[in-house]
């Protein structure tokens, strides 16, 4: 909390919010880390099939100790070690990744509507995935499908970025419009592929649904590697550029006057967010809401858009949120499952709206008029 911000708030709020403010300022990140651990434990222990707690312990201990799992525990092993653990890790990684990507894109574009899916990435991934399903169904495994989605996501982002770069300094609206246009084209191509292709068994149609709604059910140890590497590299990359992002938010001229090279910085950040998004979407599909809303939620919660603080909190909040959303997706209509994207929007939307009503003022998003800067 900077002095200017405190001064801007009405006097009656300033005094009342004392302890909460202090918690938000200092204790939030450790608190969220603890919460993340607890959520992960819940995600591993709970599910549509009840695995006794001591069995979970035995399976995890056996793997950590390098002993083979045997006897009746083989079933538990499949559920705990092969299904739930990769799923929980994927949820945490994808959540954190989307939280960071959303924060960075919104800052870069100075627009609260920016998120990897609004910018066309999800439809790009959909086109890639469906092409692979229809074109090379014999090869369509975890890797080829992911590779297709990855290439599609990157291609869509590249087009959007190229269009925006064609006229420098014309603002973020152009980029968002390009993103929406690319989304429509991607959607059309996907429809053509599904309707015209030989979709015996409806595999492509189902694949499209999966990419549109997103899901963590496809998590495997093998598919986790790419996501883990991408997210772990992105954390320090973004954090090191938090100050520069703050400067960009103040305007390109201000940034330049602070000794930064805005256009190079923007290009660099766009490329990295595209790569990270591609890596995430390839495995999890387009999980909506999280990347768009959680950074805004974080700024409202912290009452700042200082990226050094928003980035880690947004990443952790997203990770925790996605883990609980996934658990709900697994439990609500058990033993069948809901797509996690449905849950994220259904649970998160109302909370966000409530927050908008409660704290809705000029500084709503921390991006619009620069009020909360």
């Amino acid at each position: 909390m900077t002095r200017t911000e405190t001064a801007e708030r009405p006097a009656d709020q300033r005094d009342a919010a004392g302890p909460t403010e202090r918690l938000l300022a200092h204790g939030l990140v450790p608190l969220l880390v603890v919460l993340l651990m607890a959520s992960a434990a819940a995600g591993i222990g709970l599910g549509s099939f009840h695995v006794p707690l001591e069995a979970v312990g035995r399976v995890v201990a056996a793997h950590l100790g390098g002993d083979p799992v045997s006897g009746p525990d083989v079933r538990y092993d499949a559920i705990v070690w092969q299904i739930r653990l990769p799923r929980v890790l994927l949820g945490a990684l994808v959540g954190a990744g989307l939280g960071m990507v959303g924060t960075v894109l919104q800052t870069l574009l100075r627009n609260p509507l920016a998120d990897p899916f609004v910018l066309g990435t999800s439809y790009g991934a959909g086109v890639g995935a469906v092409s692979v399903t229809l074109g090379a169904s014999a090869l369509a495994g975890v890797y080829t499908l992911s590779a297709g989605a990855f290439v599609g996501a990157l291609a869509a982002t590249t087009v959007v970025f190229a269009v925006a770069q064609a006229h420098r300094g014309t603002g973020a609206a152009r980029l968002l419009l390009a993103g929406v246009a690319v989304s429509f084209v991607g959607q059309a191509i996907t429809n053509v592929l599904v309707l015209a292709g030989d979709d015996s068994g409806g595999q492509a149609a189902r694949a499209v649904l999966f990419w549109l709604l997103g899901g963590l059910g496809g998590a495997r140890w093998t598919s986790l590697t790419v996501v883990a590497v991408a997210t772990c590299l992105a954390v320090p990359f973004f954090l090191l550029r938090a100050r520069a992002l703050d400067a960009l938010l103040l305007g390109e001229q201000t940034a330049a006057s602070l000794g930064l090279r805005p256009s190079r910085l923007r290009t660099e950040l766009f490329v990295v967010t595209a790569l990270l998004t591609g890596a995430l979407v390839a495995v999890s599909g387009a999980i909506g809401f999280v990347g768009l809303m959680m950074p805004l939620f974080t700024r409202l919660l912290l009452r700042t858009s200082e990226n050094a603080r928003v980035l880690p909190v947004s990443a952790l909040l997203c990770a925790v949120f996605l883990l609980w959303a996934d658990l709900a997706a697994r439990m609500v209509i058990a033993p069948a499952e809901l797509p996690v994207g449905v849950v994220t929007a259904l649970c998160g939307g109302p909370v966000f709206l409530w927050l908008l009503v409660r704290r809705g003022n000029a500084a709503t998003t921390g991006l619009g008029g620069g009020g909360a800067l």
Binding site: G47, S48, F49, H50, V51, V74, R75, A78, I79, Q82, I83, R84, F117, V118, S122, V142, L145, V180, S183, F184, Q187, T190, N191, V194, L195, D199, S200, G201, G202, Q203, A205, R206, A207, V208, L209, F210, L212, L213, G215, G217, G218, R220, A286, G288, F289, R330, I333, A334, P335, A336, E337, G341, A345, G349
Partner: protein
Amino acid sequence: MAGFPGGRLLSVVVGIAALAACGSGTDTGGSAGEAADSSAVRLERCGERIRLEQPASRVVTLNQHVTELVLAMGLGDRLIGSSLLDNEVHPDLKAAYDKVPVLSQKAYPSKESLIGLGPDVLIGGFGPTFSEANGLPPDQLRDAGIGLFTVQCKGQDLTLDSLTDTVTALGELFGKPKAAEQLNARLDKQLEAVERQVKGSKPVDVLIFDSGQTAPTVAGGQGLADTLVTTGGGRNVFSDLKSDWGETSWDEVVRRDPDVILVVDYFTAQNSAKAKIKQLRSDPVLGDVTAVKENRFLVVGLTGLGALSPRNPEVADQIADELHPQP
């Protein structure tokens, strides 16, 4: 995805998925049982090898037609769960059905809930039942020691011989060849009766209508529905369509002028057979179609029409009775 231009695509996609689920598939997967010792089961089905030390005894059936096949063989006591219903359970099988736990009626159960049940074999109805898109990746299920038996392989051209083959293969899976023989004999007898009934009569033109407002989705020439209509003494007016189900146009329906419209029935509130018939009768474009003029509609459940099931001969009989009523 809130507020995103995906809604319409989604409905299209859901429609296609539902349609595809109605039945596709063709015959590649034989059921060649290899030489086996006394009780071990060695099967290959749709390219999937099934190896069991003992005949299957803890089985989950994932689609209604499969559930009914197993129940019709009298093997309900080997089932530890079933999922997905398209129609009401067949009255003859209802008592047996009620003894088997229903895991979920509208969607496939999750892989962890299935693994948790500890089945020795899962029986899926359609080629893509065991797939990542359905949340049932074959490799993870296999790794958990579960055999995967699919009734209709992907891209299989279904005939009534496929039904006999499937029942025989299920007999091997459960170590109950006798039960399979008995069911096959019963089904054959029913079919022969239908064939006798329609023998010598002139085929009647039939439209097999699944659903559709702006454009009709109909059965083409490559699915089981086409076979059953032929068996029942009809001629599918869209048998030249090279797929099991496909979309055509209302103009084409008028041009081909079916004498009878067969309406496919399955559980979805807004799509009940009654509503579909009402729609067809009130459409001015269809006013001159013979079937509409003469009000000749026949409602048939998807379970017996689009998938290999013990109802297939019954459905052929139902069609024969409508097309060639006996005096």
